[in-house]
């Protein structure tokens, strides 16, 4: 659709009737990078706090976060053991590190959902079942 001729560009010209290009959206696109840089540090602080990462609304989600954290720790320890010495090339060693990867991926996806997409995976379930223990909502620093 774009022409190949080089035309001068004017930032103030809008190219669509949609309101998304209001002055407030003409922000630095580096926001994503900055947020990425912030995220590991923020997560460290929260991890030391013992509770869930930013954004978990329901108890069930906090529990899943905590469980994944535990799994990662356990599996890393198991993998180190499974890969000691001669066993470094064994199937057990490979499988053990794959388990670490699986848990790390799951934890990262959950964090992405909560922090970037701002969606709690239990939203729909808790909408239908607000009385269950899993759907207890935390406010403030309650843990």
């Amino acid at each position: 659709m774009a022409s190949s001729s080089i035309t001068p560009l004017n930032l103030s010209s809008s190219f669509s009737s949609r309101p998304i290009l209001s002055p407030s959206t003409i922000t630095s696109l580096g926001a994503a990078t900055r947020r990425q840089e912030k995220r590991p540090r923020a997560a460290t602080v929260k991890a030391m706090g013992g509770g869930g990462g930013g954004g978990a609304k329901y108890k069930g989600t906090k529990m899943r976060e905590a469980r994944l954290r535990e799994i990662i720790e356990e599996k890393v320890a198991e993998a180190k053991e499974a890969c000691e010495g001669e066993a470094a090339a064994s199937a057990e060693c490979r499988v053990a590190w794959d388990e670490v990867e699986e848990a790390s991926q799951a934890k990262a996806h959950l964090r992405l959902k909560l922090e970037v997409l701002r969606q709690d995976p239990l939203e729909s379930f808790c909408g239908d079942n607000p009385e269950t223990d899993e759907c207890h909502v935390f406010d403030g620093d309650e843990e």
């Binding site: 930032l11 669509s16 290009l21 954290r69 992405l112």
Partner: protein
């Protein structure tokens, strides 16, 4: 939302608890589900890529309502994204017993994968297993209703030739080892239990299976997004500034590769100069024809990052065959998801372009068949 499929009305509203299962109307109609394969080694919920893709068609994507909260499936008005981990033949315990990683084909049920993807393509609903990444078990199945667009994402979308044949378009996300390492550091260092050594060991241990079973799929992909470390900053290995290549297969039906200035030529372009001021390290583009595993391809490469909106608009205006519907559509899509990782570099740009290419594919297919109008509501 009701869609008419070969004369049979199917109710496939994602939030409706009552779903009428469409009777088999054969696989040759103009209402066939479009099937897209996406291969990558970052697990399911490549949420940002999927959201960019689904957002091109309008509407937000979310997990299936009212079902298993640990479901990996993502549903929007037009698109359903299935995680191929759901076709694990062996759960975590089973894999440990047999001594196979999830990367190993033996851990996956390709017969079931083929059967169900084929059924969905032909307009039949399926009861698909759910692999629970938290417990490591296979949970009771969930009902998947044939969508307009089905995306199968995971480690092996192109591994089995039967499944490969069902794909209308396939994408492979090829992350170089350096970038993989850098990203995993960013991802995992904050976790208790992880260290630089454990992250490195994990990558090394999975590499043999990855190289044997996953990597070879890229030769089959219609588009490969290759992510490498930048060449703009000497000795930079943090993976924050990226060099990204979009490798597009030539001769694929309904897929017109994007080009820069002059199709089929070789172009090296640095947009930053007199008209466009960029901040460090700037942006470099490269475009050329090439061969990739014996196929003719066109490669568009972007090294660097966008720092301001006007850089993005400027770049968009110089690319051709973008399949946009209006000037600035790419920029608008990128802005919509400016929170997502990659929105200031080639990964976000090329993922967005692929999304538009898929839309274009769908529209061309529909247009060349019986001329039945596209019935799904678009945002």
């Amino acid at each position: 939302m009701m869609t008419k499929r070969g004369g049979v009305i199917v109710q496939n509203h994602p939030s409706s608890p009552c779903v009428l299962i469409c009777s088999a109307t054969g696989g040759s109609g103009s209402d066939d589900t479009l099937v897209i394969g996406l291969a990558a080694d970052s697990g399911c919920g490549k949420s940002t890529f999927m959201r960019r893709l689904t957002s091109v068609f309008g509407g937000g994507a979310g997990p299936p309502k009212g079902g298993n909260p640990d479901s990996n499936t993502l549903i929007s008005d037009t698109t359903t994204v299935i995680c191929l981990d759901d076709y694990h033949a062996l759960d975590r315990t089973g894999r440990k017993e047999k001594g196979v990683t999830a990367l190993d084909p033996r851990a996956n049920d390709f017969d079931l994968m083929y059967e169900q993807v084929k059924a969905l393509k032909e307009g039949k609903a399926v009861e698909k297993p759910i692999y629970n990444h938290i417990t490591g078990h296979l949970d009771p199945p969930e009902l998947i209703v044939p969508p307009k667009i089905l995306v199968i994402e995971g480690l092996h979308p192109m591994f089995d030739p039967r499944v490969r044949d069902l794909l209308d378009f396939s994408i492979y996300l090829d992350i170089s080892n350096d970038v993989k390492f850098a990203w995993k550091i960013q991802r995992d260092m904050a976790e208790r239990g992880h260290s630089l050594e454990s992250i490195k060991a994990s990558i090394e241990a999975r590499k043999p299976d990855f190289d044997a079973y996953i990597d070879p799929q890229k030769q089959y992909a219609d588009a490969v997004i290759e992510v490498l470390l930048t060449q703009l900053i000497p000795d930079d290995n943090e993976g924050k500034v990226l060099r990204v290549k979009l490798i597009m297969k030539e001769g694929v039906k309904y897929f017109k590769p994007v080009y820069l200035f002059d199709e089929g030529s070789t172009i090296s372009w640095v947009p930053c100069g007199r008209k466009l001021t960029c901040s460090y390290p700037g942006i470099n583009f490269f475009y050329s024809p090439d061969t990739y595993f014996g196929h003719e391809v066109s490669v568009l490469e972007m090294d660097g990052q966008f720092d301001r909106l006007n850089e993005l608009i400027y770049v968009e205006s110089h690319l051709s065959n973008l399949s946009t519907k209006f000037y600035g559509e790419i920029t608008q899509q990128m802005l919509k998801h400016s929170d997502f990782p990659g929105s200031n570099n080639g990964t976000g740009l090329f993922q967005t372009i692929i999304g538009l290419k898929i839309r274009d594919l769908l529209e061309q297919i529909v247009a060349t068949k019986t001329g039945a109008p596209l019935e799904a509501a678009k945002a």
